[in-house]
């Protein structure tokens, strides 16, 4: 029976299912086929693609790389975003300009901004090394060493997405209730203690939401890697989605890339669920 609640949920749910169902089923089906550049078709080759995934060290290495990459970038984004939000939280001179400014990087097209960053990090023509050389540093091998490339990707990701954290955390801060702060002030708590005892716990729910969403988005990291480093040097910055892209669209191994994707999807869902639960436990102190 159709109730009002169905009126709310069903349009979106059915729309999404309608759009996503075919691609999803297709992907599952194609992952059991040998669809490749030389032959498009849904033959059945059993789990061969999955066996291959299992043996594909390049894929598993990219997963490991992704976990450190996303952990580092998201943590940095969170810490910096939080610090920025705290800094412009209270009424201050020029606060508006700062706040608008801090939002802008998020609004830019990653593909295009990565190109700009690439020009900035260009080791002989870009300003990054030019400016550092004024301090007697460098030339830093931004994109041609494994560590440099990793750091470059982190820098660009932090630049692009810290605004996201900033936005959510600032919005959260502004809406915090006043009473706990009065209580803390009465208790004579200093700013540091107030932060840890009042602000941080109150911000826990919004922090979790922001962290999870950023983790989801960061795990798909692709544009930045594609433009900045093409996964290199060697495979030093290759992430799973970039690897799937190479297998799927560059090599055109449609079947195999579907198997890679589904493996990746399952792993991500499991990992993110666990992370969400852990975050809940650490930040809120209860189970999700």
């Amino acid at each position: 029976m159709l109730k009002p609640k169905h009126f709310f949920l069903l349009p979106a749910l059915l729309t999404l299912v309608a759009i996503i169902l075919f691609p999803l089923i297709f992907t599952v089906r194609v992952s059991f086929s040998s669809w490749d550049v030389y032959q498009a078709g849904l033959d059945y080759i059993g789990g061969r693609n999955y066996t291959r995934v299992f043996e594909d060290t390049r894929f598993w290495e990219s997963l490991l790389r992704l976990s450190s990459l996303s952990f580092i970038t998201v943590t940095l984004q969170y810490v910096i975003g939080f610090a920025l939000a705290l800094a412009v939280w209270k009424q201050m001179k020029g606060g508006r300009i700062f706040r608008v400014l801090f939002l802008v990087p998020m609004m830019t097209t990653p593909v295009v901004m990565s190109v700009i960053w690439r020009t900035m990090l260009h080791e002989s023509l870009g300003p990054a090394n030019d400016i550092l050389s004024a301090f007697g540093i460098g030339p830093v091998p931004w994109l041609s060493s494994a560590a440099g490339a990793f750091v470059s990707v982190v820098i660009v990701e932090v630049w692009q997405w810290t605004p996201f954290m900033f936005l959510l955390l600032f919005a959260g801060l502004v809406s915090l209730p006043r009473e706990p702060y009065l209580a803390a002030a009465i208790d004579g708590a200093g700013p540091v203690r107030t932060f840890w005892q009042v602000t941080f716990p109150l911000m826990a729910p919004i922090s979790i939401g922001a962290l999870i969403i950023r983790l989801i988005e960061a795990s798909k990291i692709m544009d930045t890697v594609y433009i900045l480093t093409s996964g290199g040097p060697g495979t030093a910055t290759e992430t799973p989605s970039y690897y799937i892209y190479i297998r799927g669209l560059r090599d055109f191994q449609v079947g195999y890339s579907a198997a890679l994707s589904l493996t990746y999807l399952v792993l991500m869902i499991i990992t993110l669920t666990i992370i969400a639960k852990l975050l809940m436990r650490f930040l809120v102190g209860k189970d999700a």
């Binding site: 040998s34 490749d36 550049v37 030389y38 498009a40 390049r58 260009h122 080791e123 002989s124 023509l125 090394n129 030339p139 091998p141 931004w142 994109l143 041609s144 494994a146 490339a149 480093t229 093409s230 996964g231 290199g232 040097p233 060697g234 495979t235 030093a236 190479i246 669209l249 560059r250 090599d251 055109f252 191994q253």
Partner: protein, 542 residues
């Protein structure tokens, strides 16, 4: 005779801004005047008889050409066709390389024939999938395709053969044999040649001819400074010229700019480097594979040697050089940062731009060769007194018409128009267009001197290119199904070696393993059939 590119471009820009208004007024009149003429031309076109119509005193200079030249698909002949109300969809490379001439000639074609021509520009890295997805799913997306000729192994099933009328066209008969070979699959021409590409060595003549530097080089190495003839020499010269400001412009210079970024055509840089060591003039039956067994040869000593030298060359790269894409390489050499570079014409042409700081300070030479070449028949290194060269006819741009197209006739007309005599000569002059010599008439030093090049530069350029045409030891791309997989696997192995993650031998051993896997998946016989096409070209049987 030929004016400098900048002059012509300057003129064409001015003309362009004027002609837009003028054209609209005159167009209708022209249409009316030529109505009867057009009709007969259509009749001719429809019956498939493609002859140059009577030379009319028509002025086509508004299109940025000096004058219409005789030829099957010249402006007058195209003008005579009427495709109004019909649409041509074209996919091509990004602007400007190939993309700009595609769009330019599409505009002209639309104006001349009344067709609606849509052009989409795609960066190289994604061109393959943009063409392949519609092919595989049976979607008629594009009529005309511009792409890397190496993909013929994957695309051949989806392409329309070039009709006889076009095979006999004036432009086609002038195409060199090797580029006709590039366009041919199983004896049938299915690509429409419109570009000729190859790798060759570019170097700074001002450095090589500098007496002080020559002396210093001699002191340091005990050898006379000369344009390198082997890759060992290349590395040695490059290393010497790295890290100091030898051209006195205040910026530190380096020895070598190479395409070393994994997914950015680095595979062809590696093949250029490895070819002379791995391609033995007396050994037939396959360069990448043993045609009989379809065993990968990618980890044989010749390739390993090539990779070791590639790894070694990194010390002469400018900062960031190990992550250089083609664009960076062009900027680096064309901008005067490095002594040598080897890849397509772009860097050379960039250096020869009129406003370039190093104009006429560059020379072209064949790619270095090897004095030791691996002979896989005998399983040992053979010594050569004169370095053995193995010119790599690295993939050039090619064009084709989709077999699904419902406008094949118009599509071929467009391609024929694209490469008509006037257009080709116009396009060759503009470096950024990326259209490079591919017809016998293009190998003429006078033509390039007409662009304002020094005679010596033009001579070395033409000589280098035409010698490649004559070589009997050429290497072609791996034009077989799944070439993308093979090349990306190889590029990945090379990148790992370059990054020091693996030794050259280990990296290539792993590539060979992957290649064997790909052969298994795609099917040995299917690949052998395709590869035979390549081997025939390499063994000069094609």
């Amino acid at each position: 005779m030929w004016r400098s590119e900048a002059f012509i471009m300057g003129k064409s820009r001015a003309v362009r801004s004027l002609y837009h208004d003028a054209i609209i007024q005159t167009w209708e009149e022209t249409m009316k005047k030529q109505f009867t003429g057009s009709l007969s031309a259509i009749a001719l076109a429809v019956t498939g008889v493609l002859t140059a119509p009577m030379a009319q005193a028509q002025d086509y200079s508004r299109f940025g050409i000096d004058s219409d030249l005789p030829g099957t698909c010249n402006f007058a002949a195209t003008d005579a066709k009427d495709y109004s109300g019909r649409t041509l969809n074209i996919i091509t490379h990004a602007i400007p390389v190939i993309g700009e001439p595609t769009a330019l000639h599409a505009e002209q074609f639309a104006e001349l024939t009344g067709a609606e021509v849509n052009v989409v520009h795609v960066p190289f890295g994604d061109l393959f999938q943009r063409i392949m997805i519609p092919f595989q799913s049976g979607q008629n997306a594009y009529d005309v395709l511009f792409y890397g000729s190496l993909w013929i192994g994957d695309f051949n099933r989806f392409l329309a053969p070039v009709p006889d009328a076009f095979l006999n066209s004036s432009g086609m008969s002038d195409v060199t044999d090797s580029f006709k070979g590039v366009a041919t699959w199983n004896g049938q021409m299915i690509q429409y040649p419109m570009d000729g590409d190859r790798h060759y060595l570019k170097y700074r003549t001002d450095a090589f001819e500098n007496a002080e530097l020559q002396a210093r080089f001699k002191d340091a190495t005990g050898r006379d400074l000369a344009v390198p003839e082997t890759w060992e020499e290349y590395n040695e010269v490059a290393a010497f010229f790295s890290g100091f400001d030898w051209d006195g412009d205040g910026e530190v210079n380096y020895g070598s700019a190479e395409v070393a970024k994994r997914d950015d055509l680095m595979f062809s840089a590696f093949i250029s480097r490895a070819a002379p060591y791995a391609k033995h003039p007396d050994v037939t039956g396959g360069f990448f594979f043993d045609l009989e067994t379809m065993e990968p040869l990618i980890n044989t000593p010749g390739f390993v040697r090539g990779l070791e030298l590639f790894v070694d060359a990194q010390k002469s790269f400018p900062p960031g050089g190990t992550n250089f894409g083609l664009g960076d390489e062009i900027f680096s050499f064309g901008g005067g940062q490095t002594l040598m570079s080897y890849s397509w014409d772009d860097a050379f042409i960039q250096a020869q731009q009129e406003d370039s700081r190093i104009r006429d300070m560059v020379g072209a030479a064949p790619l270095p060769g090897a004095r030791e070449v691996w002979n896989r028949d005998s399983g040992q290194w053979d010594n050569f007194d004169e370095p053995s060269l193995a010119p790599y006819m690295t993939w050039g741009w090619s064009s084709a018409v989709s077999d699904m197209s419902e406008e094949k006739e118009m599509a071929f007309d467009y391609l024929c128009f694209f490469s008509n005599e006037a257009n080709t000569f116009h396009d060759l002059q503009i470096g950024r267009f990326g259209v490079n010599p591919y017809r016998d008439s293009h190998f003429d030093s006078g033509f390039w001197q007409g662009l304002g090049w020094d005679a010596s530069v033009a001579d070395s350029y033409v000589k280098t290119l035409s010698e490649m045409e004559l070589s009997e030891n050429r290497v072609y791309d791996l034009r077989i199904p799944g070439v993308g997989q093979f090349m990306s696997s190889m590029a990945n192995g090379v990148a790992e070696a370059l990054a020091g993650q693996k030794s050259a031998q280990d990296a290539l051993d792993d590539v060979a393993k992957e290649w064997a896997g790909i052969v298994d998946r795609i099917g040995e016989d299917r690949l052998r059939d395709a590869y035979a096409n390549v081997v025939r070209l390499e063994d000069n049987e094609g």
